[in-house]
């Protein structure tokens, strides 16, 4: 009885501590909460809107926002709200895919670079080469090479953003390698993969999570930019970028399409950035707001 009360007290104290930490960190709360809500909205898109995003209606072209069409209609009479929700799904899926892909491959390369100094020299020169290309331009060139599809957008953006993950993980790995517990693990006969993934990776996870949150944000922007320029995902499939690209010629008569879709992209990226800033504050409070 007594122990369970004590335990309960302990849990309560821990809980209060967590609440306190979150209260001190509004970036994390606001960013996380709103990003979560946005994710929920696009995931529930089919039950939120009953208009198909591809249904063309020539009787309702470029209509301003109304009760029937919350964000108005576009030049083909398609419901903008529905297109933004379904487009948001694709943007989100691509952003997440890029964040996960660069996270896995980038972390692996970063750990290897940080651990093996000979491979490090070669791989880091390669990363320097990739970093020499403005990421948007590298994305564009990859799209020209591979062709325009969602899968290729993920590949192109992952290649463009991967060096950032590699750099961050590598710098942690370089510092961790010097520590005693790695020496101890070696002395105990731990295999190299075990040292890399059981001992060095956990040290890198916090900064990796922060970095991947930012890459998620960059990737949402990158996808929107490629699609806006007409070299990403092709119409009629709606994405936040190509909705704006299609609406640009009608800006004078129907500015709301650009503003709604643009506002949604901004909201996504803003809340992701806030979330990243909040996580950074916990992981590395000294480097608040700084980033690569």
């Amino acid at each position: 009885m007594l122990t369970s009360i004590l335990e309960f007290n302990m849990i309560e104290k821990k809980f209060i501590k967590i609440i306190k930490k979150i209260k001190q960190n509004p970036s994390l709360t606001i960013g996380g909460l709103w990003f979560g809500l946005l994710c929920l909205a696009v995931l529930l898109a089919p039950s939120l809107v009953h208009v198909d995003p591809l249904t063309i209606n020539y009787m309702a072209i470029l209509e301003p926002p109304s009760r029937a069409h919350l964000m108005g209609t576009d030049e083909l009479g398609r419901d903008v709200f529905s297109r933004v929700l379904y487009g948001g799904r694709i943007s989100l899926a691509i952003g997440a895919a890029v964040a996960v892909l660069t996270g896995i491959i980038g972390a692996a390369i970063g750990l290897i670079c940080g651990y093996f100094s000979k491979i490090d020299f070669v791989l880091m020169r390669l990363m320097d080469v990739l970093m020499a290309f403005p990421s948007l331009l590298l994305g564009l060139a990859m799209m020209a090479a591979l062709g325009f599809s969602a899968f290729n957008v993920v590949i192109a953006l992952s290649l463009a953003y991967m060096p950032r993950t590699v750099r961050v993980v590598r710098s942690v790995a370089l510092a961790t390698r010097q520590q005693n517990f790695i020496e101890a693990a070696k002395a105990l006969g731990a295999s190299t993969p075990r040292i890399l993934f059981r001992h060095m990776l956990p040290a890198a996870v916090p900064v990796l999570v922060v970095q991947q949150t930012f890459i998620f944000a960059y990737a949402v922007l990158g996808e929107a930019t490629l699609s806006f320029a007409g070299v990403g995902i092709q119409p009629p499939t709606p994405t936040l970028g190509n909705i704006i690209g299609d609406a640009q010629p009608f800006m004078q008569n129907a500015p709301w399409i650009v503003f709604f879709a643009g506002g949604v992209i901004m909201a996504y990226v803003l809340f992701l950035n806030l979330l990243g800033d909040g996580l950074r504050e916990i992981v590395d409070p000294k480097r608040r707001y700084a980033r690569i």
Partner: protein
């Protein structure tokens, strides 16, 4: 702090030469990446370029003209030799040499990038300094809030919003187009104002954040406490002692921002219909006009490498502590 003396001794020359030599392999690899773009294409690049209605002979002729029938290593050799002769290939869509087409548009993109950089530095640096002087206070929150906004708005949305407000509603600025500064200075300024602001504001966000971090680090240093303890006026402490020492990381981030800016300029050119390298390259991507894409990739990456080199040299010059070995 006195100005670093303009000394160029043997050690520094040695450093510059080694840094230049070190850049050559990187540059060769950059060339390789640009070269590989056409070879990454699944299937036959010539067939992709000509589209679904291409004839067999048409594809064969294009393959021959692009040199795709030669062995891979010979193609690579020809590509590097071409670069050395200023020959980046021929665009059949444009009907002219790639180098000439890009070279003609380079000044436009460069003007846009430089103007945007000025906007970015003039907004970003003061914002970062203000934030650093009042950490975690209202000023900091506002400055970093503006910066967060800049990091979150896509370039093209920013550009379109500016067009809507200042060109469509207020009619203060033209909605697009480009006038060269040598042709008509006031009109050029009018045309470049909106594109440069939309592009610059976004980079200002990044510069503000790095300036804040750099300033904070310096402001906590012992010599700042000493300067204050000596009774120096606060402005002297901030600008002469702190800011000058925070310059190095700021220069680095400005160098880095220039890379991002060149990439961003491409989209800004699309939004404002500025006939620069970006507009050319993006239409080339749509047409799968590989030689133009490859040429643009090579030229911009070379610029970035050059910028990195200059940043490194600036570092060595401004910080005498840096050992040149």
């Amino acid at each position: 702090m006195n100005h670093p003396p303009l000394f160029v001794n043997a050690k520094m020359i040695n450093y510059i030469i080694r840094r230049l030599l070190g850049a050559i392999p990187t540059w060769l690899l950059v060339g390789l990446v640009a070269f590989l773009i056409i070879h990454l294409t699944p299937g036959d690049p010539a067939a992709v370029m000509l589209g679904p209605e291409a004839t067999h002979t048409g594809i064969e002729v294009l393959r021959e003209r692009l040199g795709l029938n030669k062995p891979f290593l010979i193609q690579l050799r020809d590509w590097y030799l071409g670069i050395l002769h200023g020959d980046l290939g021929y665009s059949f869509f444009l009907g002219r040499s790639v180098a000439a087409a890009l070279w003609e548009r380079l000044p436009v993109t460069f003007t846009l990038a430089v103007c945007a950089m000025l906007v970015a530095v003039f907004i970003g640096v003061p914002l970062g300094v203000i934030a650093a002087l009042h950490p975690n206070k209202l000023q900091d929150t506002i400055a970093m809030g503006i910066s967060l906004l800049g990091l979150s708005v896509p370039e093209f949305v920013m550009g379109l919003a500016l067009i809507y407000v200042f060109a469509v509603l207020l009619r203060w600025f033209p909605a697009g187009g480009y006038v060269s500064f040598t042709e008509n200075f006031p009109r050029a300024l009018l045309h470049i104002a909106m594109p440069a602001s939309s592009l610059g504001f976004i980079q200002a966000a990044l510069i503000a954040r790095m300036t804040r971090a750099a300033m904070l680090e310096v402001l906590n240093a012992d010599f700042i406490h000493t300067a204050r303890a000596k009774g120096l006026p606060e402005a002297t402490v901030i600008w002469r002692h702190a800011f000058r020492n925070a310059m190095l990381p700021i220069i680095t981030v400005i160098g880095l921002a220039f890379t991002l800016l060149l990439g961003g300029a491409f989209i800004t050119e699309v939004v404002f219909r500025i006939p620069g390298m970006g507009l050319l390259t993006i239409s080339a991507v749509k047409r799968r006009d590989y030689p133009v894409v490859q040429g643009a990739l090579l030229i911009l990456a070379s610029f970035v490498l050059l910028m990195n080199l200059l940043v490194d040299l600036a570092y060595a010059y401004f910080d005498p502590r840096i050992q040149y070995d």
